[in-house]
């Protein structure tokens, strides 16, 4: 155990750092202090089962900093109205804030233009949008779509559905034992000129970072369109869509300190321009008669109906918060933590870590010999520790490793070394309980 250091409490100099610190929208990034960061996340200060809460389920969803919470409250309290509609100042203000959020997303992703940013409910809706619109645009009977064995079900099922609708085939890039994709197989599959490759940037169950730049290069050499699922990546690795050169990139706001119910589809302008709409309704039209409707320009063509205005603004605040904290510093911090976590796990007898990919970020899956993942999860919960147990919506990965379920701790910028140590100590205690039947 870790003696005097209590992860749930703030470091002594927190207050001065909070005042000048991250998230007030004015200063340049201050030196990285995880305690200053923790001070901004109210929920981290509560207790669970009488212990300080240790939140290690960040791959499922991240907690929200005060600045995001305040942005939502303030927007509802001062600026709220529908967007793009009213001929009155309040609506113009709300519209400006909504569009400003789009600009923030565009800058965050390194997109060429705000027109390449479509707001959706989340990564799942984004992928469904693309599977539908790309499917309608150019998927024909006998065509092929390629996914990988490590995809989250939400980057698999929508493509299965599109293939079923169009009579196309789904092919799968296999996983290797080390948790990396088999890039030789990937190239072999791409050489057969499928229409679409859908691949995750970071695996949510293994933490594997895929070499997207390299994969896109191979895909483009064969004329294959690339859709990247960035749900697990945006908060944990540098993303610049122009450098990656992918055609589409999708993520959810709630996994990067933003609200639920908001997500993003990035698409290269020339691609979005060509695609038919996903849903029909208000906002996405230019002119409607009973005979024919002409559609609005991008991105509005893909935003039928009143959008999730407030959460888009909240997402903007979250991304600014990340920028101000400093992406590089966050990633360096998380990198140290995941290495420590992996080292600690491997040192515990009977723990089997899944995979050893070349680069792993923020999430790691393991099983314990003779103890089921759920029993571990319940034991950790009683220590105030939140981890995910189960198949993590990646049943093919579980099948690949021959396990029914895993325990998956996953990190965010606010986790500390002390928390990792406490997690490892608690895990050993829980394992001992189930081994001996008492502790």
């Amino acid at each position: 155990m870790v003696g005097e250091v209590r992860p749930g409490t703030e470091a002594p100099n927190t207050h001065s750092e909070r005042n000048k610190g991250v998230g007030n929208g004015l200063s340049t990034p201050s030196p990285f202090s995880v305690y200053a960061i923790r001070a901004q996340f109210p929920v981290l200060h509560r207790a669970m089962h009488g212990k300080p809460l240790i939140y290690l389920d960040n791959a499922a969803s991240t907690q929200k900093p005060q600045v995001v919470i305040d942005t939502l409250v303030r927007f509802y309290s001062t600026t709220y109205s529908n967007v793009h509609r009213g001929a009155y100042a309040l609506s113009e203000e709300a519209t400006a804030r909504y569009e400003e959020a789009r600009q923030i997303v565009a800058r965050f992703l390194g997109a060429r233009s705000w027109r390449e940013i479509v707001f959706v409910r989340g990564a799942t809706e984004g992928i469904n949008l693309l599977a539908f619109s790309l499917g309608e645009y150019f998927l024909r009977e006998g065509d092929t779509v390629v996914v990988t064995e490590m995809e989250h079900h939400s980057n698999l099922v929508p493509w299965q559905m599109a293939c079923a609708r169009k009579g196309a085939h789904l092919r799968v890039v296999p996983l290797r034992e080390d948790g990396d994709l088999d890039l030789d197989q990937l190239e072999t599959l791409l050489a057969q000129k499928p229409k679409i490759l859908a691949v995750t940037h970071v695996s949510n169950s293994l933490g594997t970072v895929n070499p997207i730049r390299q994969i896109v290069e191979i895909a483009h050499a064969y004329g294959v369109v690339v859709v990247v699922d960035g749900a697990q990546a945006v908060a944990h690795v540098p993303v610049n869509v122009q450098e990656l050169d992918c055609d589409f990139y999708v993520f959810s706001g709630h996994k990067i300190y933003g609200p639920t119910g908001i997500g993003v589809v990035y698409g290269k302008e020339e691609w979005l321009d060509r695609l038919p709409p996903y849903q029909g309704g208000g906002e996405m039209i230019r002119e409607v008669t009973f005979e024919k409707t002409t559609y609005n320009d991008i991105p509005y063509r893909f935003e039928a109906g009143t959008p999730n205005i407030v959460d888009a603004v909240g997402l903007g605040a979250a991304l600014q918060f990340v920028e101000l904290t400093g992406r590089e510093q966050i990633f360096r911090h998380e990198d140290q933590l995941i290495k420590e976590l992996e080292k600690g796990l491997r040192a515990i007898q009977g723990v089997r870590v899944l995979g050893a990919p070349q680069k792993r970020v923020a999430a790691i899956s393991f099983v314990v010999e003779g103890v089921h993942a759920h029993d571990i999860g319940t034991g950790l919960d009683l220590h105030g520790i939140c981890v995910r147990t189960g198949h993590h919506c990646t049943q093919p990965v579980m099948r690949f490793y021959g396990v029914p379920a895993t325990v998956r701790p996953s990190l965010a910028m606010y986790n500390t070394r002390e928390e990792i140590e406490r997690f490892l100590a608690a895990l050993e205690e829980v394992i001992a309980f189930f081994r001996r039947g008492s502790a």
Binding site: H49, V371, H372, A373, H374, D375, T378, G379, L382, T389, G390, H391, Q395, M398, P404, A405, E429, V430, F433, F434, G437, S438, A439
Partner: protein
């Protein structure tokens, strides 16, 4: 670890480590699969029913799951083998009623008898479905529904 002990009583740990009536038997009259798709728990239940006498001759099971779902299946197989259909259905209902009783309410030991070792799951709502998986499966067999049972509640 006292909380953990209140959920994982010795009886439960013992049943999960040494499950009774475990493994596919040579013969049976009814087979059903119980699944908990959220956890990946899967239990195959093999039941021999004497239709004439309306008695459960034997219950066996096979599969994988957490210690709560395995212990619960083992406990059920042991306690309900040999019971009449009506008696077994009564015990199943009693089990469901018990795990639905709020944790703050004490359980009546006379009413629940040996079942009471599973009373601890009431403090862990996410684990109740683990405890009920096998019982739902057996209920389906006894009611002649025979469908695959999927617990997600």
């Amino acid at each position: 670890m006292s909380d953990l002990q209140s959920l994982y009583q010795e009886v439960i740990l013992d049943h999960s480590r040494n499950p009774r009536h475990f493994g596919k038997p040579q013969q049976w009259t009814h087979h059903i699969r119980g699944q908990n798709p959220l956890c990946g728990d899967e239990i195959d239940l093999y039941v021999t029913l004497d239709e004439e006498k309306q008695v459960i001759r034997s219950i066996h099971f096979d599969g994988q799951g957490c210690s709560i779902s395995i212990a619960s299946a083992s406990f059920m197989a042991e306690h309900l083998s040999g019971k009449s259909r009506t008696e077994a259905l009564t015990w199943i209902q009693r089990f469901f009623q018990m795990v639905k009783t709020p944790f703050t309410e004490p359980l009546n030991e006379e009413e629940y008898g040996d079942l009471i070792v599973f009373g601890g799951v009431r403090a862990f709502p996410s684990r109740v479905k683990c405890a009920t998986l096998a019982w739902h499966a057996l209920e389906s067999v006894l009611k002649g529904e025979g469908k695959e049972v999927i617990t997600t509640e």
